[in-house]
């Protein structure tokens, strides 16, 4: 796997050789895009921070992959943490920051001690004076959002901030800040050092009803069928979810590219694939995801705080066969309002799973709704 190659500090040395602007232009030339889900050009992000005039700048490594079904960052941090640290050092050098933070999600706290050792050994090897601190989170899905991380590190409640200003202009303690995902930073030393670095290779996290779940490194645009077959499903696969926020679509032989998935009304994000087989009901999965969002909504804005709770109640009623047909329409309308009026990405995507489920698997929802004439018969 490309992501498991070692660079032994030589990626950072190459960056120092090239200088700040040289490093950034190499990043742009090789076409490294953010791997956390946004897909923003990393070189461009770094350039924006480099061009800001400030006495202090920060680099934050986002190791808070809270998206259910995603575990690629854990895979990198366990198997090749050296390149992540080297990527952080390179980022610090390129933008002129002297302090970096790794925001490690609370669920991965067992990785903290080994990461500390890696940081120490890399700093000794490269003789860099950069300070790298680990801040361990405490279990909040919304803290995967970049501005929420900033609030969390500063000691506020981990709620998202308004954008603009973007963190590249005003981030941690109001200073320009680079925030990059673990996989993005891991690729930095690889592309600096290896001429044959392939920008198309991505990590896919495959889980759900497959016998061989795991992290697969495949090119962007691999066919969905090929990926699922690598996972060796036991039963027939009915649907795939792209994490909780990405929504679902019927299992089909399409190429996994952002455009293709967007065309289905879904979002590809961090290349998370959860396979659902034919024995599972989409209504039950939707209820499970609705519970997740109700629990994880941070409470900052009303549509998300109240809406996710209402959606959960409606779905529970439907799955217990207590709902009427018009509840389905109410739910769809509410889901659309939440999507359009929420403050941050969490709320805006909190009902995407439901809207896509209603689009492709509406019959399963309708089956759980009692018809009016049946309702009289059962005495309601």
């Amino acid at each position: 796997m490309q992501i498991l190659r070692k660079t032994f500090g030589r990626g950072y040395e190459k960056a120092v050789e090239l200088g700040q602007e040289g490093t950034i232009s190499l990043l742009k030339k090789k076409g490294l895009l953010g791997r956390g889900g946004g897909g923003f050009s990393t070189g461009q992000k770094w350039e924006m921070v480099l061009n800001e005039i400030s006495e202090q700048k920060f680099v934050v490594c986002n190791a808070d992959e809270g998206e259910p079904g995603t575990f690629k960052d854990r895979f990198i941090l366990m198997n090749n943490p050296e390149i992540v640290i080297e990527g952080i050092l390179t980022a610090c050098f390129a933008v002129g920051a002297d302090t970096a933070f790794i925001y490690l999600r609370g669920e991965y706290d067992y990785l903290e001690s080994s990461l500390k050792k890696t940081i120490k050994s890399i700093l000794e090897k490269t003789k860099s004076k950069t300070k790298i601190d680990i801040v361990v989170g405490a279990g909040a899905y919304v803290c995967g959002e970049e501005t929420a991380i900033l609030n969390s590190i500063e000691g506020e409640r981990g709620q998202p901030r308004h954008k603009p200003p973007y963190p590249t202009a005003r981030g941690l303690w109001g200073k320009p800040t680079v925030i990059n995902n673990v996989e993005t930073l891991a690729n930095v030393p690889l592309l600096m050092f290896y001429d044959d670095w392939n920008p198309n290779l991505r990590l896919y996290s495959l889980s759900g009803n497959v016998a061989k779940p795991g992290v697969y490194e495949l090119p962007e645009g691999t066919s969905l069928k090929k990926l699922i077959e690598l996972g060796q499903p036991v039963k027939k696969i009915k649907a795939v979810y792209f994490g909780c926020f990405g929504g679902c679509m019927p299992y089909d032989d399409i190429l996994i590219t952002s455009e293709n998935i967007c065309g289905k009304g879904c979002m590809l994000g961090a290349h998370t694939i959860i396979a659902v087989d034919e024995t599972k009901s989409i209504v039950d999965v939707a209820t499970n995801i609705a519970k997740f969002y109700e629990f994880e909504s941070c409470g900052k804005c009303t549509p998300c705080r109240e809406g996710t709770m209402r959606i959960m109640n409606l779905l529970e009623n439907i799955s217990l066969k207590n709902a009427k047909m018009h509840d389905l329409n109410t739910m769809q309308e509410l889901a659309e309002v939440i999507k359009e009026t929420s403050f941050c990405g969490l709320g805006q995507s909190a009902t995407n799973h439901l809207l896509t489920a209603l689009k492709y698997f509406r019959n399963e929802f309708e089956e759980r709704v009692i018809e009016k004439k049946d309702r009289k018969r059962v005495g309601r």
């Binding site: 992959e65 809270g66 998206e67 259910p68 079904g69 995603t70 575990f71 854990r74 999600r105 609370g106 669920e107 991965y108 706290d109 067992y110 601190d133 801040v135 361990v136 989170g137 405490a138 279990g139 909040a140 899905y141 969390s152 590190i153 500063e154 000691g155 506020e156 409640r157 981990g158 709620q159 996290s205 495959l206 889980s207 759900g208 009803n209 779940p213 795991g214 992290v215 979810y241 909780c244 959860i274 659902v276 087989d277 599972k280 999965v285 499970n288 995801i289 519970k291 997740f292 629990f295 994880e296 941070c298």
Partner: protein, 135 residues
């Protein structure tokens, strides 16, 4: 630099939860209002402001685990320990939390007890794990 979140985690690791007394001390130490300390402490799912059991069980119920039968295991645990989520057993030995994804979707269903991950769970496996927990 003393970061509030790091300090809160340190207290919880030492005492099992963040009491009102330690919040007051922390607010003095960091020179910030206690409301801010309380606000941060109650925001996170893994922070507790109430006394916890001697063994904290966090079992994942996010889609990947759910599709592999986590709900049955949660019901099994609730029956076995005679508590619901966010409750503590009468003898104070266990408390149970249903939590969001813990990033072990490739080894689902999974849970964490006192920070240690146990994966590919079955009812039989859970019974064996519970036996090894501190009494």
């Amino acid at each position: 630099m003393d970061l509030l979140l790091t300090e809160l985690r340190r207290i919880q690791k030492k005492e099992g939860f963040v009491s009102e007394k330690s919040m007051k001390l922390l607010s003095k130490k960091l020179k910030i209002p206690i409301s801010k300390v309380y606000g941060a402490a109650t925001f996170y799912a893994m922070m507790h402001v109430k006394k916890q059991g001697r063994n904290v069980i966090e079992i994942c119920n996010s889609p990947s685990c759910y599709l592999n039968g986590s709900l049955d295991l949660i019901k099994f645990l609730e029956k076995k320990l005679k508590i619901k989520s966010r409750q503590t057993t009468k003898d104070g030995r266990f408390c149970l939390h249903i939590c969001s994804c813990i990033g072990c979707c490739d080894k689902s269903p999974s849970m964490k007890i006192n920070g240690k991950v146990y994966s590919n769970l079955t009812e039989k496996k859970i019974l064996e794990i519970l036996k090894t927990c501190r009494s």
